[in-house]
Amino acid sequence: MDTRKYNIYFHTHTISGIIIAALLYVIFFAGSFSFFKDDISAWQKGKSAVAKTITPDYNYLFDSLAQHHNLRGRNFDFYVLRQGHGTYVNMSASQDTTISKPKPKKKEGGRGRRGGDDDSAYFLFYFGDKTPSSYAEGYDMGEFLYRLHFLAQLNQIGINIGTPFGYLLAGIVSFMFLFALITGLLLHWDKIKSNFFIFRPWSKWKTVWTDMHTALGVIGFPFQLIYSITGLVLIVNVVLIAPFSKLLYNGDSEKLYESLQYSRSMKTEYSYKPMTASFDMNAFLAKWQKEIKGGQISRIHIGSYLDQNMQVSMDTKPDPKASFAGSGFVKVDIASGKVLEQKSLVDDTNYIDWVKGLIYHLHFGDFGGIPLRIVFFVLGLMGCVVITSGIMIWLVARDKTNIPVYKRKFNFWASNVFMAACLSMLPVTAFTFIMLKTLPHIDQSVIYRVYFYSWLVLGLYFIARRDLPLMNRQTLLFSAILCFGVPLANGFSTSLWMWKTWQQGAFDILFIDFLFLALAAICGFSYWKVRHQAKSFSILSFKKREEKPLANKVV
């Protein structure tokens, strides 16, 4: 490779990398934890979803809803949770105007903010204890971290650019990440073989960071490439879809989404004629559950409940063990019992199912059980290490005598802020987990306040100290203590100690305790190592050192 190309790759890689560094760290960190989203929810609520099998009782749900609402003529959407232990329920107002008595109303928009002045409802329902909770009440730490990893919380800060700001930002970061990945690989291409096994942990710090950055970057490259692309598809695919729909579908994006099998039209006519027979949802589902052989019903739509034209549509997903990709669909007219449309899970899997299955499963890591998630979790944290070491390389490479002091000061300021924001994430996360178990009432706003304010406080503290080695040591110490506190807090508040959850078979709760215990051990070990062995060094009269906890885990 000639020097000119090398320099171009080098600079594009550096610039695109350093711009997105802090945000990308947040995305990777929160994303890694959201592999365990379901386990975190179970942990927080103290209700295991795997300890005993829960049979969803939809009839009970309808009966209890019917006590407060006249259900006739309503549309229902059930978005079933992945483990099938609960569902989001979206109940529309009745299409029967004698029941809904519509007021003239303005059209409401915005995802996730449903329910207006009519008596429609949107809530989360757990089949285990049969309690409904609103979205904000049902909001848990798993959901929080999951949404943080595509910066959904930033949507709420009121920058109005026509599209959710946080999602757009996440998309841009994702694309720049893809770009940085490609330039990084090309940059390292010539040395990829010769340096593959090179890691010199006892050399000077800059070498350690460089080796860490390239070695882990190369090992993690396929993983990270997959995530940058699937992430782009999942968060900002509209930039790709919009022009295609303009050019090929005459601007009819509904139609494009339909042909890509994202949505189907499920309209039913309301006939004002009540259905004569009664409807047993449980029996209906049991029958179809048998039909789809181990697959999972992911979404149910009921159009015009208890009307002559009542229809039920279901989306189904195959058991990942049986088939990697595929999606099923069935639409049934209830009064006549006729199947109107059907796409079998087994036989009708097509190319688009494969593409979408690939994107979805690769991104969510949900096809290999817990072991795969742990591997993905470690790979995700490796991404974090690559980012932080990248920041450090960026800093020390610019800390030379021939560079003006004001620039060096700015560089230090930037990396100080970046590192403070990044490194304080682990202690803050552990702290929030502890708070979940100590505060009397938890909902969305409580989680927001605890997490973001403690992050702000800790971040500002480290920024003010302006000392990277100290930041490293203290975050390690805080992380070790706070992570260790997580299983303790769980044990004291719910008395679900690890041995008890083991006995009950509540492995999802046990796993989170164990995860934090492991993190605590790693952080504690690294803290001890850093205290005793790390060489000091100085730049610009400030001293600084790298984060090590995550590196220890993988190297």
């Binding site: 190309k5 893809l178 490609i182 695919n237 090929l248 494009l256 890509l260 593409v355």
Partner: protein, 70 residues
Amino acid sequence: MLSFHLFLTALLPQEEVIATAFFTGYLLWAFLLLYAFTAHNVWRVWGIYILLTAVFALPYLLKFNLNHGY
């Protein structure tokens, strides 16, 4: 990037091409962006991009016009 996939839709089933573009589109896009950085002459980059776009868009435009807009 767009016109290239548009070109493919002329030959292959269009919704499958779009689904494939989920992967190839973004990758191609990133590489095209990188190419603009490595090129010696900026005008040539513009020229190449426009030329490629025009060539790939040709089948689509022809089809579009021969069918009176549909």
